[in-house]
Amino acid sequence: MADFFAMGGYAGYVWPAYAASLLVLVTAIVTALHGHAKARENVRRLELEVGEDDKGP
């Protein structure tokens, strides 16, 4: 197990590369999901508000 983490002496290069990838991709996922949920909720709320006096086409 320790061998695995040591990466043949290249741990200082391999793990930062994997950590950076994980960090960026997880951030992209969280921002996309959060933005999507927020925008959908906002439209739903506005449709209810506007729908009361404007049925629209």
Binding site: G8, Y13, Y18, A20, L25, R40, V50
Partner: protein, 246 residues
């Protein structure tokens, strides 16, 4: 009559897109996680050290897919931009705009992981004299410029047109990135992942690499769908706000 027809098409396409994409979302998201889990396990635990690069070759599995995606996403943006300028499809600028931050993220990852791979194998994190490195950095700046241009212009129609022109001009960097390793033979190795008739990368590395690349692609599709839907919701919200104000 003409006006109402245009209005129906404009409304109908995003509506249909919202319907289809809501079915695709859980499948693409789920598939991305499965592919990335399998790819990561295979890459980290089931591949041997390279006979020249030793364990640094593990960086390849996160570097090459990110670099491919940076270029692939930009080609999609350029294609959608051309479609937007020529055919005025109502979703083309939504598609292009939503893809850009994802493409920029992949390109940034390609640069960072490449730099971490370069230090132990080439002896340097960065070299201004290497055309592949510099043209890849240029791609990141083109992404930044494209995103900044969208944010700088308030009118969405004008913003879409200006951004589309920038996207098409910037596409000139794509062949430079691709052929840089053949035109200027400096640090970065030539393209050798898929070589017909053998002589390329060993299958022990190729399969996990392809699974990781597919995982990155499906992950991108999932996030792209989410971001396109977000953009459509935001435009609809703006229209509703205006209706409310009127």
């Amino acid at each position: 009559m003409a006006v109402s027809m245009t209005r129906i098409t404009v409304l109908a396409n995003p509506k249909r897109f919202l319907d289809y994409s809501s079915v695709l979302l859980p499948w693409t998201g789920g598939l991305a996680f499965v592919l990335l889990a399998v790819g990561l396990y295979w890459a980290l635990f089931e591949t041997p050290p390279d006979y020249q690069q030793h364990e640094t070759v593990k960086i390849m599995f996160v570097h090459v897919p990110a670099a491919w995606m940076g270029i692939f996403v930009y080609s999609l943006i350029a294609g959608a931009s051309l479609g937007g300028l020529v055919f005025r499809h109502p979703l083309s600028d939504v598609a292009a705009k939503s893809a850009a931050p994802l493409g920029a993220a992949f390109t940034a990852l390609a640069l960072v992981t490449g730099s971490l791979w370069g230090r132990p194998t080439w002896g340097t994190y960065w070299q201004w004299g290497d055309a592949r490195l510099v043209s890849e950095l240029l791609l990141l700046f083109i992404y930044f410029g494209y995103i900044a241009l969208w944010n700088a212009i308030d009118d969405p129609t004008r913003a879409a047109k200006a951004a589309a022109v920038l996207a098409l001009v910037g596409a000139a960097d794509l062949p430079i990135i691709h052929f840089s390793v053949e035109w200027w033979n400096t640090l970065h190795q030539p393209n050798n992942t898929l070589v017909l008739g053998g002589g390329g990368i060993d299958p022990a590395f190729l399969w996990p690499l392809l699974i990781m690349a597919l995982g990155y692609t499906v992950l991108f599709v999932w996030l792209w769908l989410l971001r396109m839907r977000t953009e459509i919701f935001e435009r609809r919200a703006r229209a509703l706000m205006m209706a409310k104000g009127a």
